[in-house]
């Protein structure tokens, strides 16, 4: 299966991002179309299973960005044409990167911006460094983070502290492997959900529809088997540190929920899962769910959740897009609307979005608050 048919592509950026992409591919298998971009030739050789491309080779001598943000940024700018050529068939690009270094933090915003200009929808997973890694790396990550928030349609942050929660006593090498595997297998599961034709389908187009420009989301996976697995899997999901132990579920405005199970899954179990989920979420949460049955999950249930912190209903979005047509300067060349999801349109096209606490304030307030207008 290639990106020609799915329009979905996984891209690792920087050393950590490439490793993670490779691990996700390992977890999911052949159907996952993934490539990587890094500045360090030696690191690229260490990654197997994913085609990795060297960027900024002339500038950085193939030796990596040395933790310097501008090196990563310039490397991506140097090779942007090549990067975009590799991604030309994708409609939805899922990026994975690790913040705190040079290539991930520097190159990712450049690539996101270019992808947006090409009309592609982006979902970006970014890990944040451990608190013990020292304030320098944390500061670098915190400084780079807003660029990802601005550039990605939806940003999923995964603090390494959260990924490692519960692994404190595990030897570092093993804990590191397990944490990588946790996120990677999550992404792998997401892929399986998106690409396996399900009884209740959840395809890339539906995901694309949920990605809100400049939104943020949390991501988590729960797993259970045996008697009472429907109830247990929701409980397991609620305990995931990446979902802030349920906090992210409780606060979510929208939820993409995938149930992956063996052929033994019963209808009543789906009902039980959804019922449980609704009790832990807001009453007005918008849920898009999909069910994929796969023999390799026999006896178990996996629950994958993307919890979005904001949500604009699709009929509203149509209004927003139309706003680009009408709300845009009628005289202005910027009034054209090419059908892409361009939130914060009209007068504010072409300028940085005003995003405060994850909310895109260029979208009319009455729309975000779902206020009905007297017609």
């Amino acid at each position: 299966m290639s990106s020609d048919t799915t329009g979905l592509m996984l891209v690792g950026i920087g050393g950590g991002g490439c490793r993670m992409a490779a691990a996700a591919r390992l977890a999911h298998g052949e159907g996952l179309e993934a490539i990587g971009f890094d500045t360090d030739e030696a690191a690229i050789h260490g990654v197997s299973g994913v085609r990795c491309h060297l960027i900024g080779a002339t500038r950085l001598n193939k030796q990596g960005a040395g933790g310097v943000h501008s090196n990563g940024r310039l490397a991506a700018q140097d090779d942007l044409a090549n990067i975009l050529a590799q991604l030309k068939d994708a409609r939805v690009v899922v990026l994975v990167t690790c913040l705190g270094g040079g290539t991930g933090g520097g190159a990712t915003p450049v690539i996101l911006k270019a992808l947006r200009a090409e009309g592609k929808v982006t979902l970006c997973f970014a890990t944040l460094p451990f608190s013990f890694e020292g304030s320098d790396r944390r500061q670098i990550a915190e400084r780079d983070r807003p660029f990802l928030e601005q550039g990605a349609d939806t940003l999923v942050l995964a603090p390494l502290d959260d990924l490692y929660a519960g692994l404190e006593q595990t030897p570092l090498a093993e804990a590191s492997r397990q944490a990588d595997a946790m996120l990677a297998s999550g992404i792998g599961l997401l892929w399986r959900l998106l690409l396996t034709p399900g009884y209740i389908g959840f395809d890339p187009a539906r995901l694309q529809n949920m990605l809100v420009s400049a939104g943020t989301a949390r991501f988590g996976v729960g797993s259970a088997r045996g008697e009472g697995r429907a109830e247990a899997v929701v409980a397991a999901l609620g305990c995931t540190p990446l979902l802030r132990r349920g906090e992210a579920l409780a606060g979510a405005r929208a939820l993409a929920l995938g149930i992956l199970a063996g052929a033994d899954l019963r209808l009543a179990e789906i009902g039980a899962i959804m019922e449980r989920i609704q009790t832990v979420c807001r009453k007005d949460v918008h849920i898009e769910m999909g069910v994929v049955l796969d023999p390799c999950f026999d006896g178990q249930v996996e629950l994958v959740a993307l919890a979005f912190e904001q949500w604009v209903p699709s009929e509203r979005r149509a209004g927003v897009a139309a706003g680009g047509e009408y709300g845009g300067d009628l005289l202005g060349k910027d009034g054209k609307n090419d059908g892409k999801l361009q939130v914060g349109s009209g007068k504010f096209r072409g300028v940085e979005k005003t995003v405060i606490k994850g909310e895109d304030l260029d979208i009319p307030t009455y729309q975000r608050l779902h206020i009905r207008l007297e017609r």
Binding site: G319, V320, G327, L330, V351, E352, D362, T365, L373
Partner: protein
């Protein structure tokens, strides 16, 4: 220059305004030249099209120069935009005198210390404002000289912006052979023009409602304790109206000005506004005034709430309430909305005649000229001030370093 002339400029998102004036007795200033041009190429306070923005600057300055019959070589510039933020700094100093009393030398040294920990090199520090002194456990001291204690502390509020954004404006002026004498955060400039010493002492929040940005500054006991800017302004209100009723922006703007209200006005809510047939709508139609006010109130309530939340609990101590400047200050029933959001009274802040004269202009209402007026007053005070180590000294040395730190 025969006369002591000062020139100031604000490149706002809606209007570019230039003023030329001369200091007169009592630290006041008289406006002798005015220029106002529609701005293009600026969104949310930031220059996005240098050529278009430069055209507005050219028009405004030429008008001002013509009416004053002078030519200017340097200006004082106001900036705003969401890149303007504050960070606190702090200096600590053990009291050195053997009797444990704080001396004037201690105060001078701690002021230096408090300004040391500046934001990074990519940030241009516009203002370094001293906060209250703290002597051991005693906080909120305005002048600790002669008081006894062991350790003296002083906070600084740095107001700083992104260097690249500020350089854009400075370079634009350089292109017209104009030097930038100094750069002032717009809300601070507006405060200079419209607030009385009593208001500043009692505590007051100045909220400047501009076309592309909302800027604020909060004073408590004469000290600036909070300031900020975000990229939400009158343009957002207009854009919301345009999207809600599928109108072109210029028509939405017109409706906002003629029929707008900050809250749902019960006296008008039954009415409808008739719209003639246009390019967009083939046939004539009407929109509900109540719906219009609903859209506006939602946006304005959110904007004011953002100010309230960003300032935090300090706002409660602002005994003199809220003062609105900028074009948005004249919105009908803004005071009622402010009372609901802030829980305090509010006023429209127009430049005070005891500071500036001959400002009136038919094209723009006075509160929309608060920022340029404040720049003018500051500029005149800078000329007045002959002590090189006074506030001017700091500005000049800041300029000499090219805002290097």
């Amino acid at each position: 220059m025969a006369r002591s002339i000062v020139a100031v400029l604000e490149i706002g998102t809606s209007n570019t305004v230039a003023l030329i004036g001369e200091p007169i007795e009592g630290g006041r200033v008289r406006v002798i030249g005015k220029g106002i041009a529609r701005t293009a190429g600026v969104r949310k306070g930031l220059i996005i099209e240098i050529k278009q923005a430069a055209a507005g600057v050219h028009t405004a300055l030429s008008q001002a120069e013509d009416s004053a019959d002078v030519s200017v070589g340097e200006v004082l510039l106001a900036v705003s935009g969401s890149h303007i933020v504050t960070t606190p700094g702090e200096g600590r100093l053990p009291v050195r005198a053997s009797d444990g009393k704080v001396t004037r030398d201690d105060l001078e040294e701690i002021r230096e210390l408090a300004r040391e920990n500046r934001p990074g090199p990519e940030r241009a520090v516009l203002h370094a404002l001293s906060q209250f002194y703290k002597l051991d456990e005693l906080d909120g001291i305005t002048n600790p000289e002669g008081m006894r204690g062991k350790q003296l502390r002083l906070g600084t509020l740095f107001i700083h912006g992104q260097r690249d954004r500020i350089d854009d404006a400075v370079n634009l002026l350089k292109g017209r052979a104009l030097d930038t004498r100094d750069i002032v955060f717009s809300a601070l400039a507006a405060a200079t023009a419209v607030l009385t010493p009593e208001q500043r002492n009692q505590g007051v929040a100045l909220v400047d409602l501009g076309g592309g940005t909302t800027n604020y500054v909060v004073y408590l006991r004469n000290v600036v304790v909070a300031a900020g800017s975000f990229g939400i302004g009158g343009d957002h209100v207009t854009n919301d109206i345009a999207q809600a009723f599928s109108l072109p922006v210029n028509q939405a703007e017109e409706i906002k000005i003629n029929e707008g209200c900050a809250i749902i006005d019960p006296q008008r809510s039954g009415r409808r506004i008739e719209l003639p047939a246009s390019v967009v709508a083939a046939s004539a139609r009407s929109i509900s005034v109540k719906a219009l006010h609903t859209v506006m109130e939602a946006r304005l309530r959110e904007t004011l709430s953002l100010v309230r939340d960003q300032v935090g609990p300090e706002l409660r101590h602002a005994g003199a309430g809220v003062v609105f400047t900028g074009g948005g200050a004249y919105l009908p029933k803004l005071d009622e909305l402010a009372a609901r959001v802030f829980g305090m009274r509010s006023l429209i802040g127009e430049p005070l005649p005891q500071y500036i004269e001959n400002l009136r202009d038919d094209r723009v209402k006075p509160a929309a000229l608060a920022t340029v007026s404040g720049l003018m007053i500051r500029s005149a005070q800078m000329r007045d001030e002959d002590n090189p180590l006074g506030p001017v000294g700091m500005w000049v040395s800041k300029l000499a370093k090219g805002f290097a730190r």
